[in-house]
Symmetry: D2
Subunit: 337 residues, 4 copies
């Protein structure tokens, strides 16, 4: 196969980002079909990008023998059904995270789909971020020695809509799940135990919805490493996304990206730019990298970086964190498998 | 009172640092007597600093009516007895941390000594460090808003002697106690609950001694703030001492001090100095600041920054952390009071 | 006019960058024709980007009434002839720097073309770089006060081919010309006097060719500001491109961009990434910005940022620097006008 | 000799700094006598530091056979006479810069004093600054290769008194002289040619006094290296003292020191401390280092780092810069020898 023919299912914000990246940055891919119930909107948006088949019916994509792979960027509740159907139709799948909206569905998908002949990649884009990847490179090169401690911080620049919070599944499933995948990615080890919790410090309506806006977790990894996570739903200074890995031979830290490297010194202070505002700015490049990696995995028959097991295990850890927070106790992953 | 006349009890490493600082940096103080069983050694060391009375008997200092205040830098097991005797003799006291070698003694001292007429300052020197103090200033000024998250890291440049570890009381009492005081100092709030634990990743003999070499704790503060702590007994790159405070209006981070601000760019990389090697380098200035502050507190009758209650509460948190780690559960401070 | 129809003349490295940027980042532009004597090569390269008319004859572009504007990225010796023909044909022009290969041609173009009805933009891309632009923003906002001193550094990551050096016109025309434009851009003032010189420290063949590989210049600006420039043909650590502007109220510095913001601490040192390797990495975004700005200037009838006068004056300063270095004396720009 | 017995001549600001440093940081030195016409003031100041002989007459110090070395910190116009007398009396001399108030006196001193049996150290304290010394270490280790370019900046935090400016000898003698010595110190090579000049941008009264407040110089070194200097009499953001050395293998930059390493991120910006305010803060440690080095040089019979030739050559370069600025031409040092 020289060119990967792709159908995109779901043309919301991320579906559009993936489509644009395929067209502009992945010459080995050809986007053939766009499927979204909002046909007119999709048509209008796609016009300036090229000629595509546009359909309201996602099954059309799976039935098309000229399509090799699908991008699934639909609402989370549809993920399971679509993924199973795609695999059945022998399409390779690039799917937005999370794998599923609850642990049970995720577990079932994991058990049934871990050994199919198709490639399935879950869009944990931070694995493809230049900063996180460089930290991983330092780990893999052995320069940091054995990994002892990991600290990650994730803080959004503004509060989410309260209606979104109510349907989100909670801060561990919706937000901290990235950190859970990062811990597995960086250590190359499994989480065995979780202690997690949170506070409502930003908006009481988040507490009324049964969720936290500020949260933490301690993950104990199989290899003895400890991962300390803290997150917040809101900063005043932009998107704060950092990780530090401390090992027996050294430490590597990924600091935030900024728009410029200008330093201004005045009577008041010495100042530099704030971090990039939010994920479309901060992770722009990682989105292109991850979908390019997916296309390469299929064309060159290589393993994907985050497969269905990454999708499943991150949900497993999120569930453990949720129980830990509710029962104020340490929860072993083994309890949930 | 214009000059504070001082006797120093215990002329080990820290006793000598305090004595030298009093002589060189605190003109309002006059060191009159040095008490240490190692009389000859002490005489020889003190020679170049001036004329002092030197005695093997610490009670001599308390009985001398020309002495206003004492510095206690003796072994921890003697702290309780000496402190009580000094207060009884109406001497002001500057005492090395920790307040006592166990919670019971600390509690008794706290109950009996919290309202005496003398000043008692426990030597939590980080409160007087230029970096930590600047972070505190940002908190106090309101620039950070309400405090939501605190992250502190403390990592030593080399492993302690294994014999020291055996007698140290464990990593929570000996090492992380600084972080516990820092959490109280920065938030101005009390710890209400602790979850802590650790791993043995550096030296199996530390595990055999019943201790950890790598440890973490989550502190929940009365005001809702969360403090995430991680510590390690050994880095390869110097003394790593950082704190970050995240609040509703902003964040302040204290980075490590380095010997120079030179940046060298070569084919290999762009590099700068490592952090200062260890506490005598990193906290040198804070030692002078804390003892100067003590002398001022007495002469100007002002409150000390870290009194007997700071000594007691830090031990309370250390005990809670110890129980938490042993029983793998969250421990409420109220259980221990 | 809603869409700007463009012909590109010269499809070497920069012609291709501009073409790609027009297609991918400037939806208001439509590239219609590509003109280059290497027709087959150009066809092959252009294939994956879309459908274009491809011609060996640059005059075809000017004669096409359906073309509104041209990008000229041909060899410098052809610049003058093409520019005059394009203006005569009433095409707007985006032209690679330098304006001309000698001062006489540049002066003639400047005198004849400064008041034509078409837009002419010279590709001084640093004016569109995020870092340089941010420094300019600080100047324009008044935060730096009046400008007193400017320091710029430009250092390439590797030596140019010696054959290139021989035909380049010398380090002031080929290399430092960017700094000359930067000085005018940042201060908004004209150069009145130049003192310049250089050394041969990297490769004796550069000296044999009558050129320097390491050079400096002091520019005195009409408003009293002083600009100190140093350049080198070769570093070991990447592309070093910095500027500092010091004014009566403060200073702004643009530091180098790096691939990641990861900091690694080991026993050896605390290190970060080297600067981005060379101009295609460092100035990638500025190339897109400058051509987008050109298209906007035409469509919205706004002034361009670097017109034919910027092309002329930078060459004037380069000539003054060249004389200064050869005669080891300060040269007034007025001598050359 | 085990202890160096010292007399201090001139107890103004720097004389006091040197005296205090000798007492607190140089145990091998013993300050015996303080000479200053302001006897009462000197007595009062010295009281808390110990017992000294105090005299109004500087010759007393030279006649005292129990004094081995003198610190001369008197007004510059007295330097020549005192230095010659001290050498005649066979006292080692630590002398404040500059060596003399004009080139003729400096030349005479250099010719007559370069080969006496006593140690003479001129107080070019930057040679003993931790940052500048680290840059020098990188040069000496060969890590930077051959030195091609040096850039230094020196900017004061506030304007000097206009009366001081009138008597100062001008910005090249009074201010930029440090940079001239730094260039010689770092390159280990002599200046062969100077081009210098300046502007009056801060205060017209400085121009009326025949001086500049903003100045620059290009130094060409014997080994081909180029040194670009810029200075300003006033910043809004503290004392700005930086140097960058660029060589064939790499570059080393000394950035400013700051009071803390705290970074604060708010809605407005990400800010850190301003540079230390002025030389007593910034160079405090270098003053102690330089006088300790002097005492060691005498006691261990080692060469001093900045001898009478450093004093002379820096004045030679200052004079060349002065002529260059007045005549707007490049000046060869050979013209002045």
């Amino acid at each position: 196969m020289e060119t990967l023919r792709i159908g995109v299912i779901g043309l919301g914000r991320l579906g559009r980002i993936h489509t644009t990246n395929l067209i502009q940055h992945v010459p080995e891919a050809k986007v053939k079909t766009l499927a979204d119930p909002r046909v007119d909107e999709t048509k209008k948006w796609a016009e300036r990008l090229g000629d595509f088949e546009i359909t309201a019916n996602w099954q059309d994509v799976l039935e098309d023998p000229e399509i090799d792979a699908v991008v699934i960027a639909s609402p989370t509740t549809l993920h399971g059904e679509m993924l199973k159907a795609a695999v059945k139709a022998k399409k390779h799948v690039f799917m937005e995270k999370p794998l599923a909206h609850n642990l049970e569905t995720a577990r079932e998908l994991y058990k049934n789909l871990k050994d199919t002949g198709v490639k399935i990649q879950i869009a944990f884009n931070r694995r493809f971020d230049h900063n996180f990847r460089k930290v991983k490179d330092f780990i893999d090169s052995g320069e940091l020695g054995e990994i002892h401690l990991i600290r990650t911080t994730s803080r959004d620049p503004h509060l989410p809509d309260i209606e979104f919070v109510k349907k989100s599944g909670g801060i561990f499933f919706d937000f901290m799940i990235h950190e859970f995948d990062t811990a597995r990615f960086l250590t190359g080890s499994e989480v065995v135990e979780v202690y997690a919790g949170g506070s409502v410090l930003l908006d009481p309506r988040i507490g009324e919805a049964g969720d936290f806006d500020t949260a933490y977790a301690i993950l104990k990894m199989e290899n003895g490493a400890i991962c300390a996570i803290d997150v917040s739903r809101k900063t005043t200074y932009g998107y704060d996304q950092r990780v530090e890995v401390f090992g027996s031979k050294g430490s590597a830290r990924a600091e935030n990206d900024r728009e410029t490297n200008v330093i201004v010194s005045t009577e008041a202070a010495v100042c530099s730019d704030k971090p990039l505002y939010y994920f479309p700015q901060r992770y722009m490049q990682s989105f292109a990298n991850e979908i390019r990696a997916f296309v390469e995995s299929v064309l060159e028959d290589k393993d994907v970086s985050a497969g269905v097991e990454a999708g499943y295990y991150s949900i497993l850890v999120a569930r453990a964190a949720d129980i830990s927070a509710k029962e104020n106790r340490s929860v072993k992953i083994a309890e949930l498998i």
